[in-house]
Assembly symmetry: C2
Homo-oligomer: 245 residues x 2
């Protein structure tokens, strides 16, 4: 049974939502504590989050961003804020659906089922700069092609992604590969890294695994050349106000 978390401060509304979802055959969990909502949600790891934007103390936008920043499940924003600005901002932050209250039962349930359907199989996909990686099989999705990485290369890439943009020590990489940091063969790591880099180049990824001397490595988000080439269409909906309201 699919599990849905409801993040909503108004008790009546929350109860009604939860009841409606339960009647439709979902397991509904109510979140009442909003200060560390994102962490709580990560603990619970539901299949979907229904999120209100007007919460006491915290901004719903912030929660949405935090959810989407970490490894992610779908977010359906349900709010009384009907400003276009809010809708666009929420979508920018990665919300999967935006509905305004009041919302009819049927519409909400239809959207919920719709989003869940689209997320089938996505549960374990890690997001990288321009590609996706399946945590379990190490299947790599880039552009419209996919490849299965050898286990070791997959583990390495996974490690880089989960420490996004930070430096990863050799010890960490060795632990990821062999489960132990003792008797590490620096060379073996080296070889595996080389192989990963080679496949990344072959697949045309803007890779950049750069060494950090004496420490380890890091995966750069972008090659530091050609800042002029505008990529990713439809991203011009940039907002001056990137901060929460």
């Amino acid at each position: 049974m699919k599990r849905i978390a409801v993040v909503e401060d108004e008790p009546l509304m929350r109860e009604e939502l939860a009841l409606m979802l339960r009647k439709a055959g979902y397991e509904a969990m109510e979140i009442r504590e909003f200060d560390h909502a994102a962490e709580q949600l990560e603990e619970i790891s539901p299949d979907l989050v229904v999120l209100d934007l007007n919460l006491p103390g915290v901004s719903g936008f912030r929660i949405c961003r935090e959810i989407k920043g970490r490894s992610s499940f779908p977010v359906l924003v349900l709010t009384s804020r009907d400003q276009m600005k809010d809708e666009l901002h929420a979508l920018e932050l990665g919300a999967d659906e935006y509905l305004t209250k009041p919302c009819r039962r049927e519409r909400l349930l239809a959207r919920v089922s719709n989003v869940l359907k689209r997320y089938e199989g996505r549960a374990n996909l890690l997001e990288g700069p321009g590609f996706l990686l399946d945590r379990q099989t190490y299947t790599l999705y880039i552009d419209n092609r996919s490849t299965v990485l050898p286990k070791n290369q997959g583990k390495l890439l996974e490690t880089f992604l989960s420490r996004s943009d930070k430096t990863v020590t050799k010890d960490e990489l060795c632990t990821a590969l062999w489960g132990t940091t003792e008797f590490i063969d620096e060379n073996a790591l080296q070889v595996n890294l080389t192989r990963l880099k080679k496949t990344m180049t072959r697949l045309g990824m803007a890779h950049k695994i750069t060494p950090v001397r004496g420490v380890g490595y890091r995966l750069e988000k972008e090659a530091e050349s050609e800042p002029g080439s505008g990529e990713i269409p439809g991203q011009e909906n940039s907002f001056g106000n990137e901060e929460d309201l």
Copy 2:
């Protein structure tokens, strides 16, 4: 650059849409012939379809269903029909987004970008009863887990899925596996089928690859037992009128 097909009969509207999309950095293609729209679209295989519901002669619903029936790309329905009934019906049929005209530029572009983002990597996913299969890597997604099938098992399953629910001859299966129908080793096919069945059982799929004596095999959508167990929550939005309007 992402390619978007616009299916809309009203010339002014169509032009405006196409222009808007092009300005946003997409490649827009205008569909003017609606009788075989689904086939045309399959030929083109765009990254997204913007679909009007009120078309002369054909029902937009039908087109939507036809698109989603075959191997699929995302569909954004943009229509002046603001009846809840229509919206639910479209979503039922697998539409990924439903917007009503008039619709502000920003909203449309935001939704377009949103849908496209969610479809990253999905391009080559074949849909089966309760699971997804990646055509290129033979990665199999079921529940929230994924496995990479051995090449042969993948090819077999792929063949079954692309002839959904119809009988597949042994010759077809052999061709899929070895590219030739001559000098077929019936036994080798047999062994590979057994292996596929075994993995499917291991993964808990409601498999049912049944032999059709003297011809070949077929993949049943459902095990023919227990018709009472209601599955798939949120699907109770069933409509009496399954036919097009």
